[in-house]
């Protein structure tokens, strides 16, 4: 009989959570600075953009696809937005900036959807192509300069803090308001996947595309939504990244997509589609961020961090598979009695 405890062990979220806990205890014991409030806020700050991207990537992976173009979409959206706003001399609220960047992201995401849905091309190939095309388009036609004077609203956004404090030795620390965007996006994505028919459709598509079509889901509608939604989140992540770093750098972000995908897969999403959850993804993001952050605290050189994330990914994906293998076959004869 499966006890509650056994069920818990089967849950991927639980395993990731345990790993995080173990990692925290270890790092905390080596460097007590880990447990300080400034470090905690720092971790949250680092999670915002990675997390928003990961939510988009989760939706794609659940549907059985993969998207590697979202960082290119993010950079293109944020750079066009910043340039336009500066050209207009925009002085309005941050909300409209977000909407503009998200709209651009949406359009770019729909380009992906068009190729994937209308021409039925493999998602990896399409997004590899558009990643390169979007990025090239940005550098060739829009601009390749850093912009360090940003519109006022973006600067203000970067200074918007939920909590502020000062350490005994006088260093300022704060919890940025941007984390609310992450929580908002996570809540929305969670509800979408769990409580909407569209979300059920995304899981169905990832489980068996042919069956999903037979049941009556419109696959193209679902795919347009998925890639559009990823585009919107990429646009949002891009503009928040730019605001927080107070610079629009066209060379930024592209290259971080593997970190994002690693976080999603560590969080329990299966690369073959059909499985994955928002809480799991957030834990995966947490794990990657803590890993990167703690290696700094431990004084590990930054190149080693990449090695560590890679190893973590291997271990994290291997563990559940190996665990599942050990309990694959039920005891002979048990079935017979039923």
């Amino acid at each position: 009989m499966p006890s509650r405890w056994n069920m818990l062990w089967k849950k991927n979220e639980f395993l990731v959570g345990l790993t995080i806990l173990g990692l925290c205890l270890f790092v905390g014991s080596v460097n007590s600075a880990f447990w300080s409030l400034p470090n905690l806020f720092d971790l949250l700050r680092s999670s915002v953009v990675l997390g928003i991207f990961a939510l988009g990537a989760l939706v794609v992976i659940v549907s059985g696809g993969i998207d590697v173009s979202f960082t290119a979409v993010a950079v293109l959206s944020m750079y066009i937005t910043t340039k336009l706003l500066l050209a207009w001399g925009y002085a309005g609220p941050f909300l409209w900036i977000c909407l503009l960047s998200c709209s651009i992201g949406l359009c770019l995401g729909l380009v992906n959807a068009l190729f994937i849905s209308a021409f039925r091309l493999p998602t990896l190939i399409v997004t590899l192509g558009t990643m390169s095309a979007f990025r090239g388009f940005l550098l060739a036609f829009i601009g390749s300069n850093h912009i360090s004077v940003l519109p006022q609203a973006m600067v203000a956004f970067s200074q918007w803090d939920l909590l502020r404090g000062r350490t005994p030795d006088g260093v300022l620390y704060s919890l940025p308001g941007a984390v609310l965007f992450l929580f908002g996006a996570a809540l929305f994505t969670w509800a979408l996947l769990r409580y909407s028919m569209l979300g059920r459709g995304i899981y169905a598509l990832g489980g068996d595309a042919v069956a999903a079509e037979r049941v009556g889901f419109s696959l193209s509608r679902i795919q347009f939504f998925i890639y559009g939604y990823v585009g919107v989140l990429a646009g949002l992540g891009g503009i928040i990244h730019t605001s927080l770093s107070r610079m629009a750098n066209p060379f930024d972000l592209v290259g971080t997509e593997m970190n994002v995908l690693a976080a999603v897969v560590l969080g329990g999403a299966r690369i073959t589609g059909g499985h994955g959850s928002v809480p799991g993804t957030l834990l995966g993001v947490g794990l990657v961020v803590i890993m990167n952050n703690s290696l700094i605290l431990l004084g590990v050189p930054s190149y080693w961090q990449r090695v560590a994330v890679g190893l973590l990914l291997l271990a994290g994906t291997a563990a559940p598979i190996l665990l599942a293998r050990t309990r694959k076959r039920p005891h002979a004869g048990e079935e017979e009695r039923s």
């Binding site: 409580y195 059920r200 489980g207 068996d208 069956a211 049941v215 589609g273 076959r329 002979a332």
Partner: protein, 497 residues
């Protein structure tokens, strides 16, 4: 007076790129009727079902459902009229729970935007109660055995207010108790005036459950009569157009000094225990037992997929260690899996590629390259030798019928000339005509000195083909029968008891 038929097909014709699949076929199903559509593979059964489901459009003829006439039937029309088809692959979502799978169609039909767990649970509860079975609604479908998956698919169909449920080869992958339960469910559906069109080529079940039988052969309806009008021999004759005698295997091989394969106290924790037997050259040995008795696990252990943990395996007297598939191959063991569609074949690859998959190294020319022409010739050769019905060796295996697919798998193994061939359910999903031919092939191989081990719960199959039969229960071999000295009833009773 006969009741007005719920479904009526008249003079249906269908061509596929010049090949006549159906020739003026007629079929009618009355409300609440249990009808069987039988025929060998390639007889046009599948085409007929697809036409009723609206997946394939007929060229000529008339379709009437519940009094409405359709010149062109679309899937959505068929569903609206209450026709539900349960395909062999069930069209389920492996990553979702039983409840979610059952509820999916209903939720979509309700055009909901939002769903709650409670709503899904309620819908699934309704389906389970209509079905009258116990299933954990929270279990993932991918973790379920085939029989339960089928129940989920039936439950889902019932929720669509089905008036006719069409089941394509529903018993192909079921064990006997599971088949019995399915037939009970079909009878219970009848009570509620839901008709069933049951497509099968397992004769005993057809006879057991049907009220009316329609027999198709080469695209034509050759018989359409009440069940009482048929006996097994007549049904076989209608389906195949020839008489097939179910001959007992007679030639018992002479025993040589050393057995080809001998197992001593072979065990694998949780799968089987203390299994010992000898297999002599030229012998066909059957291992039968219910699902979970350990017969499949034993086969997997012999092929190194789930190696045994204790005991010894000897081949021609020499002790061998089989820890991997590679070990098994090297020691001359071949394995034809139960589920050839997923384990045995590359469905999208050609017949020739599939047949040559095991022997590629021998066909390769210099530099280790594989000349496509050699592979094709190899395929053509096996088409002749095993009488595979295929237009050419370059057709994808996906397009072949079950019996022919199984021959392709056999061809691959025979080409490797193993000493011992282990077959797990060798004729699951294969029609009678092909079945007897496959048995003849096995007989022929045995006559040439190969040792053949058949794992099957198809009692007539083991009885008619095996020299000896071992009965497995709860991971142990409990009894040995002489194939010639036992009969079907005795074996069936021992198997179930």
């Amino acid at each position: 007076m006969a009741p007005t038929p719920y479904l009526e097909l008249k003079d249906i014709c269908k061509d596929f790129s010049g090949v006549r699949a159906l020739e003026t076929a007629n079929l009618s199903v009355a409300p609440g009727e249990i009808r069987c559509l039988v025929g060998e593979n390639g007889s046009g059964k599948s085409t007929l079902i697809k036409i009723v489901a609206g997946v394939v459009h007929h060229d000529r003829g008339e379709i009437r459902i519940d009094g409405h006439s359709f010149s062109r039937l679309h899937p959505i029309d068929a569903i609206r009229e209450g026709i539900q088809v349960i395909f062999q692959d069930f069209s389920l979502f492996p990553n979702l729970t039983v409840a979610e799978n059952m509820a999916m169609n209903t939720l979509l039909a309700e055009r909901r935007r939002l769903v709650t767990r409670r709503r899904i649970r309620d819908i699934a509860g309704e389906a389970l109660s209509r079905l009258g079975v116990e299933l954990d609604p929270e279990a993932l479908v991918e973790d379920l055995p085939v029989a339960s998956k089928q129940l989920v698919a039936i439950g889902r169909a019932l929720l669509q207010n089905a008036r006719l449920i069409i089941m394509d080869e529903p018993t192909a992958a079921l064990t006997r108790p599971e088949v019995r339960r399915l037939l009970e469910i079909i009878r219970a559906l009848k009570e509620r005036n839901i008709a069933t069109l049951f497509v099968s080529h397992k004769l005993d079940e057809v006879m057991d459950v049907s009220e009316q039988i329609t027999v198709l052969r080469n695209g034509r309806v050759v018989a359409d009569e009440p069940r009482a009008a048929f006996d097994a021999a007549r049904l076989v004759f209608c389906m195949t157009g020839r008489r097939i005698a179910q001959a007992r295997r007679s030639a018992v091989p002479e025993r040589t000094d050393t057995p080809l394969l001998s197992l001593r106290h072979l065990s694998r924790k949780g799968s089987f225990r203390d299994v010992s037997f000898d297999l002599w050259p030229g012998e066909i040995l059957g291992v039968t037992g219910l699902l979970g008795s350990g017969r499949t696990e034993l086969a997997l252990a012999l092929f190194g997929m789930e190696p045994a943990t204790e005991g010894e395996i000897r081949i021609e007297g020499r002790e061998v260690s089989i820890r991997s598939i590679h070990d098994a191959l090297r020691n001359g063991l071949g394995y034809v899996p139960e589920d050839r569609l997923t384990e045995g074949l590359f469905l999208s690859k050609s017949l020739a590629d599939n047949a040559a998959a095991g022997t590629a190294r021998d066909l390769a020319g210099r530099l280790g390259l594989l000349p496509p022409r050699a592979v094709l010739r190899f395929g053509e050769d096996w088409i002749r030798r095993l009488r595979i019905a295929a237009p050419s060796a370059s057709v994808p295996v996906r397009n072949l019928s079950g019996g022919n697919q199984q021959r392709v798998v056999l061809a691959r193994w025979i080409a490797l000339s193993p000493k011992v061939l282990v077959l797990n359910g060798p004729t699951v999903g294969v029609d009678i005509g092909s079945k007897s031919e496959i048995h003849a092939i096995l007989e022929d191989l045995a006559a040439k000195g190969m040792g053949i081990l058949i794992m099957s719960d198809d009692i007539p199959e083991v009885l008619h083909n095996c020299n000896r039969i071992l009965l497995m229960k709860r991971g142990r071999i409990v009894e040995e029968f002489d194939g010639a000295a036992t009969d079907e009833n005795e074996l069936a009773r021992k198997l179930a008891g």
